[in-house]
Each structure stands twice: as structure tokens, then as C-alpha cells.
């Protein structure tokens, strides 16, 4: 029973706070529980506290307040080298004065593992990232992608249960990045490693993670699987930060359970799902994804509210059409429509009516 309890809460942050200068909190009241084997991404803009959290977990920063536990044991007073956490750094941090094989052997050497076993493990780790023949090279002789693989192999070679990655793909070009995203998730799942991954790239977060913790202003704004994060953001920050998003502002007019209607500042009335509003009369930001906006009135329910729109710009993007509209006083309302045979191509200046399903439109905090 105890084992399974720690498996469910392998990594725990409890009421963790961190301040560098004693005046402002970089991390404010962080609570987080991670089960074993999970791939969790900390996503957020720079300065949101995500890297600080990672560094506290790794032991390079100490928490000002609160408790961090791994496998049920508090690690607040355990120095970094005794935590047994594998780590991949932003710029790989491969030791330039050692060969690739020596780099990989380093964590084994400091653990006093015998030479033959060491060589065996290094070879296996190199093969794992398909870098078997590069053992004799120096890091400077490798390309960015190869260095990335070596850094990964080095973090995994001593078989840690927890691996931390600090924006490991930031320096790679787009194609390589996508390839490595796949590769990292595959390895993490194959080896059953618990992974904490820090990034500011939301695509990376969405495609790789089991769960994503969106950080802003020292707090976790939402902790959810990628699909929930995208489709059901809990506040306007998350809605804005993840994916493309249209925002309209107004006041809650009616509120009944999950449903509400919002009187926009421009006077129109729209349907929305009440996510983060509590009372009639609350100011709210309603958020709607560009691809969930419907321009075909027949597909909407008869009693749905619609808005008048004027087409400002039509951009052909191949798989989709991106259309910019003037809606309810804003010029930045964007809709995306699929490039299907029956799809209409809107023209500039065209007057249309748009609407959406009430559950796709989220009434969030103002």
C-alpha cells in the first residue's frame, strides 16, 4: 500500500515558495503532485517561475518555504549530488574537455561503478540514442542535434528515476526539434522514467506531455492534460497562452449552471459556458478558438445568438483558410476554416454572420 502511495505521489511540491531578494516571491504557493512515470511539462513565459521550480527540484536552489518530496522523502536538505536526478540542460552542458564516452562515464565514475560495467552501460546508452560510433569524439565535433542526444544519454546513463529537462530543444531548428520531441517522449515512456520538462514552447508542451502545468506570475494557472488545457482553459491567461484565441469582453447577463449569456461591450449578446464567472454582472473575457467559429448558420442551433462580421482579410494557408474579421468592435477576430471541397472562400468586404456552440465559448475572468 505504501509503495503504491508513493508511486502516485512520486514528486510532491507542498506549499513551496521561493524568493531571491526577500521582497518579491518568484514562486508563490506551489502545490504539485506527480505520479511515477508521468511526463509533466512546466510551461510558461520567461520569469514565470518554472525554471526556478526545476532548479529547486534539482537542488540548485533552496525553497524559501514549503516542502519538496521525492518518493515520500523530503529533499530540502539533500545536496544535489545525492538526489539521483538526471538532468538535461538548456545548452547541453557537455564537458568540453572530455570525449563523448568520458562524458557518459562521468556519472558512473563518481558512483564508483567498475570499469567493465561502466563501458557496458555507456555503450548501451549511446546505442539507445543511436550515437554508438561517436564515443571517441569531443562535444565540439558534434552537431547540435547530436550534442542533444548525448546530453540525453548522459542524463539517463545512471538510470535515474526522475529526469529534469530545462528547455533542451531550444537551440535546435524546427525539423530537428520535432524529431527530438518524438524521440524524448518515446525514450521516457519506454524506460518508464518520470520526467519534468520545462519549456516556453506550447507546441512542445502539448505534443510531448501527459500533463502540462501552465505557470504565470509564480503560480500554476492550470494543471491538466494537453487536450483539456486547450479545449477547456480555466482562466484567460491559459486561454491566451495556449494556442490562438479570440477574446471579447463584456458582462455576464444571465447565469444558469454551466451556461451563461454575456452582453458584450459593443452591445451584442452571446452564449458562453460559465467557467470562471460567479455572478450576474461580473465582467468577463470570453474566449473562443478560431477553428470553433461557425460561419454556416445552418449548423448552429436555431436559438443561438449570432454576431455580424465584416471580412477584413482572407489568407490562403494551404490546409486551412485564415480569415480576419471585424466583430463587435474588434479588428483582430480570426477564424480558421478547413480547406474542404465544399468550403466557402470569403472575400474582403463581405458581410457575414458568425456563431458558435455555447460550450466552445468560455466565459473567463476579466
Amino acid at each position: 500500500m505504501a509503495a503504491s502511495a508513493t508511486d502516485k505521489a512520486f514528486v510532491e511540491f507542498e506549499r513551496v515558495q521561493k524568493s531571491y531578494d526577500g521582497e518579491t516571491l518568484v514562486v508563490k504557493d506551489l502545490n504539485l503532485t506527480m505520479p511515477k512515470g508521468e511526463f509533466l511539462t512546466m510551461l510558461g513565459p520567461s520569469g514565470s517561475g518554472k525554471t526556478t521550480c526545476l532548479m529547486m527540484l534539482a537542488g540548485f536552489e533552496t525553497a524559501t518555504h514549503g516542502d519538496i518530496r521525492i518518493g515520500g522523502t523530503s529533499i530540502n536538505n539533500i545536496p544535489p549530488h545525492k538526489r539521483g536526478i538526471g538532468m538535461v540542460f538548456q545548452n547541453y552542458a557537455l564537458f568540453p574537455h572530455m570525449t563523448v564516452a568520458e562524458n557518459l562515464a562521468f556519472p558512473l565514475e563518481v558512483r564508483k561503478i567498475g570499469k567493465s560495467e561502466r563501458e557496458e552501460k555507456v555503450k548501451r546508452a549511446l546505442d539507445m540514442v543511436q550515437m554508438g560510433q561517436f564515443g571517441g569524439r569531443r562535444p565540439a565535433q558534434l552537431s547540435g542535434g547530436q550534442q542533444q542526444r548525448i546530453a540525453l544519454a548522459r542524463a539517463l546513463v545512471f538510470q535515474p528515476e526522475l529526469v529534469l529537462m530545462d528547455e533542451p530543444l531550444g537551440a535546435l531548428d524546427k525539423q530537428l526539434r520535432e524529431h527530438m520531441q518524438f524521440e524524448i517522449t518515446r525514450l521516457a515512456h519506454e524506460l518508464g522514467i518520470t520526467t519534468v520538462y520545462v519549456t516556453h514552447d506550447q507546441t512542445e508542451a502539448l505534443t510531448m506531455s501527459d500533463r502540462v502545468a501552465v505557470f504565470n506570475d509564480g503560480r500554476i494557472q492550470q494543471l491538466a492534460p494537453p487536450d483539456k488545457l486547450y479545449e477547456a482553459p480555466e482562466n484567460s491567461f491559459v486561454a491566451q497562452f495556449i494556442g490562438e484565441n479570440n477574446t471579447l469582453t463584456g458582462k455576464v447577463e444571465t447565469l444558469s449552471g454551466e451556461r451563461c449569456t454575456v452582453r458584450l461591450d459593443s452591445g451584442e449578446l452571446i452564449d458562453a459556458r460559465a467557467v470562471n464567472v460567479s455572478a450576474v454582472g461580473d465582467r468577463t473575457k470570453v474566449s473562443i478558438r478560431p477553428e470553433r467559429v461557425e460561419i454556416n448558420k445552418d449548423r448552429l442551433s436555431p436559438d443561438a445568438h449570432t454576431l455580424k462580421a465584416e471580412v477584413l482579410e482572407f489568407i490562403y494557408m494551404g490546409d486551412i483558410f485564415r480569415t480576419r474579421l471585424r466583430v463587435a468592435g474588434t479588428d483582430e477576430f480570426v477564424i480558421k476554416t478547413r480547406n474542404a471541397p465544399d468550403q466557402v472562400r470569403l472575400e474582403r468586404g463581405q458581410q457575414i454572420e458568425i456563431g458558435w456552440l455555447a460550450e466552445d465559448c468560455h466565459a473567463l475572468d476579466a
Binding site: G59, A93, F106, V110, A155, F158
Partner: protein, 513 residues
């Protein structure tokens, strides 16, 4: 304009060769421009620095003064064997008489004396005292003999006429040689016309020797000199200074008779050139090897203490936040803004027997009042003061290299299970070695040639080879030896640099970036 059009033509032909040549021309213009930019400095350095140094180094082997001043003696000495243990023959003394009489007129005999004095002490005073006497040698008896025998010998014009006659010149080689030298001397030193002046005694002596050798000139009045009482020139010399009877003096002159000499260099390493070859100097004259070894050992110690003291400071500087690092950096650079002399003098005040440091130690009770530490006028003083003065030269390269070491290296090492010490020793330290290398080269090369500080705080036990060089340049005026010592020092530094390149690799030396 024409250049540009022809260049464009070459390019438009798209012919490989012409493209290359036009590219070369473009590059050449760039190179010339670059050269023009550095030309003033290059010329200045070349003329005012490199050339004098080269000239100075040449002095370490140059020995022109000996064959230039006493050429006849050197030639005559070739016959003489030093191993006989006897002073050279009358022939040599006669040649020396001619040389010295001329040199005395030119006042070069004292300089020659100083030169030879480097090799054998006492020679200088021999030359000086004999120089004063050489004009009053009894050889005027020959002059009187000739002028008494025939009035023509007293007529300067007649002498000039004889010496213009090729037949006379051919039959009287010694006289011709002596007269020519005298004539030259008369013109050069006294601004007189030889045909109006009485020839000097040594010319008559040369004529006497010619006649005694059986050479006669038909144009001259015949004089029978064999009946004259001979003036023994060697006795004249020994009378002037009995040192001339010592065969060792002559051996020295013979050994150092060449245009070039290895004597200065041998002297620099406590050896000396004797007629029997190279020998070590007597124990009480050995000094330079000790000095060289001391210079190197102390420089190594200074470099070592600079590393020990500078490394932690550079580490702190590189890892502090920028604001505090800047303040600390100013403290490191502060000594640069103070005169070297002032700093060294400050150490004099601090280190001396009744100085601040000793006073404090006595006051605390660590040191007894009657047993104060000897911190100055010895090697300790040199090491302390020079470590302080050269420390910035270690800290700055170390700092700039450490600044480039990514802090995530150490974090990575710790995350992989390395203790603080292992992370430092296995990861941080190896990456900082280029800085240690650069700092060490800088400090060591500066230390090995340092002069002011050892001069002021080194006493006798803490002085460097450079102090000795300065002494020979400015006090003893033995520039040849100073040049030889300087050359050895230069070669030593270059050799160490080469060795360092082989061991560490000069590419590994970084001053920053």
C-alpha cells in the same frame, strides 16, 4: 580609373586565371593598406627598439677592440706558445711597443685595458701605467743614433720622400708599417702634415729593427746599427710594470685576440677561456649560474604563489553578481594605478626588521622582540613583493577564462552525482587550465626579467640576473657580458615558451573570449 576598368574586363571574361589574378590584386591592395596602417609603429619599433637590441646582443660576441688596437702584437703572438711558461720574445714586445705607442696617442689603450681586465684583473692598470711611460722609453737612443749618423734622418720631408718610394717601402716592411701608422696618427689626431713633423721614436725603432734584420734601402744613407748598444724593449716594459713579465698576461692577450669571442658567454656561465681551452672559473668567481638558478627558482615560486592566491579571487570574481564583481575588479586593478616604485617602497616599510609586520607579530606575541623575522633584503622579500606586484597579471587571464566557463557544467556534474569537490576538480578546474597557463606564462616571463623590485627588497640573496645585467650596463660598463647574460635570458625564456607549447599547447592559452 584604368585599373578598375581592366579589373572589370578580367572578371567579365570569366576565365579562371584572370579572375584569380584580379582577386589577388584586390587582396594585395588590402594588404598594402593594412601594412600602411601599422607602418609608423613598425618603423618606430624597428629603429628604436629591435635594431638597438640586436646591436646590443651582437656585443656579446664582439671583440673588435683587441685586434683593432694591438694588431701587430696579436700577429707576433701567434708564434709564441703559452705553455712554455716564459714571457714572449723581444719581437713581440717590439710589436707591442709600436701598437701601444700608437694606442696611447689615440687614448684607446685604457679602453683595451678595461676590456682585457674583464678576463684577467690587473691588466687595466698595467695598460694605464705603461701608457704613461711608453713615450719616455729609452728607444730615443735609436732616434738620436740615426739623426746623429745623418742629418737626413732628422728631416721630415726627407722621411716623407723615402716613404713615398716603392723600393724603400718594399725593402723596409717594419719601418713602412710604423711610419704609415704614425703618418695617419699625425693627420687624424694632431691635424698636422707628416712631411713637416719629426717621426716618433717608434718609427726609428722600427727602422733599427729592419736594419738589424738585414733589410736595407738603397735610397737611405747607410747606417751601421749593429755596433749600437741595443735597447731591450721587454726590459723597458717590465721596468714600467713588472706584470709584463707574467706569461699569463700574454696568454690572456693571445686568447682574446680574435675579432669575435665566446669569452662573454663562457663568463656568463661561470666558465673561462684559457690557452688550454674552456675551464670552470675559480670557486670564488662563480656567480652567474647561481644567479640564473635563483632567478628561475624564485620566478617559479612567485608564479606558484600567484596561482595559489589568484585562483580563488578570479573564481570569486567570475561567479559574483556583476555589481559586486566590478567593485572587486577595481580592487584588483587598483595596484595598476599606483607606481611600481611606490608599491615596492611600501613593502620596504612593511617588511623591514622594525617594520609594520614585524611590529605587529611582536605585539601579538608570535615573534620574540630579539628574534624578528628577516623578511626583507633576502629571497623572502623578493617573493612577497613580486607576488603582490604580479598578482593582477595572474588574476586577469584567469578571470577572463573562468568567465567563459558555463556555470551549468558544474551543475551538470553535481546532478550526475559529483560532490562539490569532484565537480570542481574534474570539471571546473580542467576548463580553467588555459587561464592558469596564460597567467603563468605572463607572470613567469615578467618575473624572470624583473629588476626594480628585487633591486629594492632583494638585498644580496634575493637579486635576479637582471640586476646583474643592469650593474654591468651602468656600473662596470662590461656591456659585452651584459649582452651575453641578456642573450642567455632571452634564449631561456624562448626555450621555456617552446617547452610550454609542447606540454600545454599555446592554442590552449586564452586571455579571454
Amino acid at each position: 580609373m584604368t585599373d578598375q576598368t581592366s579589373g572589370a574586363d578580367l572578371l567579365t571574361t570569366a576565365d579562371g586565371k584572370s579572375l584569380k589574378s584580379s582577386l589577388n590584386r584586390a587582396l594585395r591592395r588590402q594588404k598594402i593598406r593594412a601594412l600602411m596602417l601599422i607602418a609608423p609603429l613598425l618603423l618606430f619599433i624597428l629603429i628604436s627598439f629591435i635594431a638597438p637590441i640586436f646591436d646590443m646582443l651582437l656585443r656579446s660576441v664582439e671583440n673588435q677592440i683587441v685586434p683593432d688596437t694591438i694588431p701587430r702584437t696579436i700577429e707576433a703572438l701567434e708564434e709564441w706558445d703559452a705553455d712554455t711558461g716564459e714571457a714572449p720574445s723581444e719581437e713581440v714586445f717590439a710589436a707591442f711597443y709600436t701598437d701601444l705607442a700608437i694606442a696611447e696617442e689615440y687614448k684607446t689603450h685604457t679602453r683595451l685595458g678595461s676590456r682585457l681586465n674583464y678576463e684577467k684583473t690587473g691588466i687595466s692598470s698595467m695598460f694605464r701605467s705603461t701608457g704613461r711611460r711608453v713615450g719616455r722609453f729609452d728607444t730615443d737612443a735609436y732616434t738620436d743614433g740615426f739623426t746623429d749618423a745623418d742629418a737626413a734622418f732628422a728631416d721630415p720631408a726627407q722621411w716623407a720622400a723615402w716613404m713615398a718610394d716603392d723600393a724603400v717601402r718594399a725593402s723596409l716592411p717594419l719601418t713602412t708599417d710604423a711610419y704609415d701608422a704614425w703618418a695617419l696618427l699625425t693627420v687624424e689626431e694632431n691635424n698636422d702634415i707628416p712631411a713637416e713633423e719629426d717621426p716618433a721614436d717608434f718609427v726609428y725603432t722600427a727602422l733599427y729593427r729592419d736594419l738589424m734584420n738585414g733589410n736595407t734601402a738603397a735610397a737611405m744613407p747607410a747606417v751601421d746599427v749593429s755596433a749600437w748598444e741595443p735597447v731591450v724593449i721587454s726590459e723597458q716594459f717590465i721596468d714600467a710594470n713588472d706584470g709584463w713579465a707574467d706569461p699569463e698576461v700574454w696568454a690572456t692577450i693571445k686568447t682574446y685576440g680574435g675579432t669575435y669571442t665566446s669569452g662573454y658567454f663562457l663568463n656568463s656561465v661561470d666558465l673561462q677561456l684559457t690557452p688550454d681551452g674552456v675551464e670552470t672559473r675559480p670557486e670564488d668567481e662563480r656567480i652567474y649560474i647561481t644567479l640564473f638558478i635563483r632567478t628561475i627558482v624564485l620566478s617559479i615560486l612567485i608564479t606558484g604563489s600567484c596561482i595559489l592566491l589568484g585562483y580563488p579571487i578570479a573564481y570569486l570574481l567570475a561567479n559574483l553578481p556583476l555589481r559586486s564583481a566590478n567593485v572587486l575588479m577595481i580592487l584588483v586593478l587598483l595596484p595598476f594605478w599606483t607606481s611600481l616604485l611606490v608599491r615596492t617602497s611600501a613593502w620596504k616599510v612593511l617588511l623591514q626588521n622594525q617594520g609594520v609586520i614585524n611590529d605587529i607579530l611582536v605585539w601579538i606575541g608570535i615573534v620574540a622582540d630579539d628574534n624578528r623575522l628577516e623578511l626583507i633584503n633576502n629571497a623572502t622579500g623578493t617573493i612577497i613583493a613580486m607576488t603582490h606586484i604580479l598578482l593582477p597579471f595572474m588574476i586577469l587571464p584567469l578571470y577572463s577564462v573562468m568567465k567563459t566557463i558555463n556555470p551549468s557544467y558544474v551543475r551538470a556534474a553535481k546532478s550526475m552525482g559529483a560532490t562539490d569537490w569532484t565537480a570542481f576538480w574534474r570539471v571546473y578546474f580542467p576548463n580553467s587550465i588555459p587561464g592558469i597557463g596564460a597567467g603563468s606564462i605572463l607572470v613567469f616571463i615578467l618575473a624572470i626579467g624583473y629588476y626594480i623590485t628585487p633591486e629594492l627588497v632583494g638585498g644580496t640573496k634575493g637579486v635576479f640576473i637582471s640586476n646583474r645585467i643592469a650593474y654591468h650596463i651602468s656600473s662596470s660598463l662590461n656591456w659585452g657580458l651584459a649582452a651575453a647574460l641578456g642573450s642567455i635570458l632571452l634564449v631561456l625564456v624562448l626555450a621555456l615558451y617552446w617547452l610550454y607549447d609542447r606540454l600545454v599547447g599555446i592554442d590552449n592559452v586564452k586571455l579571454g573570449g
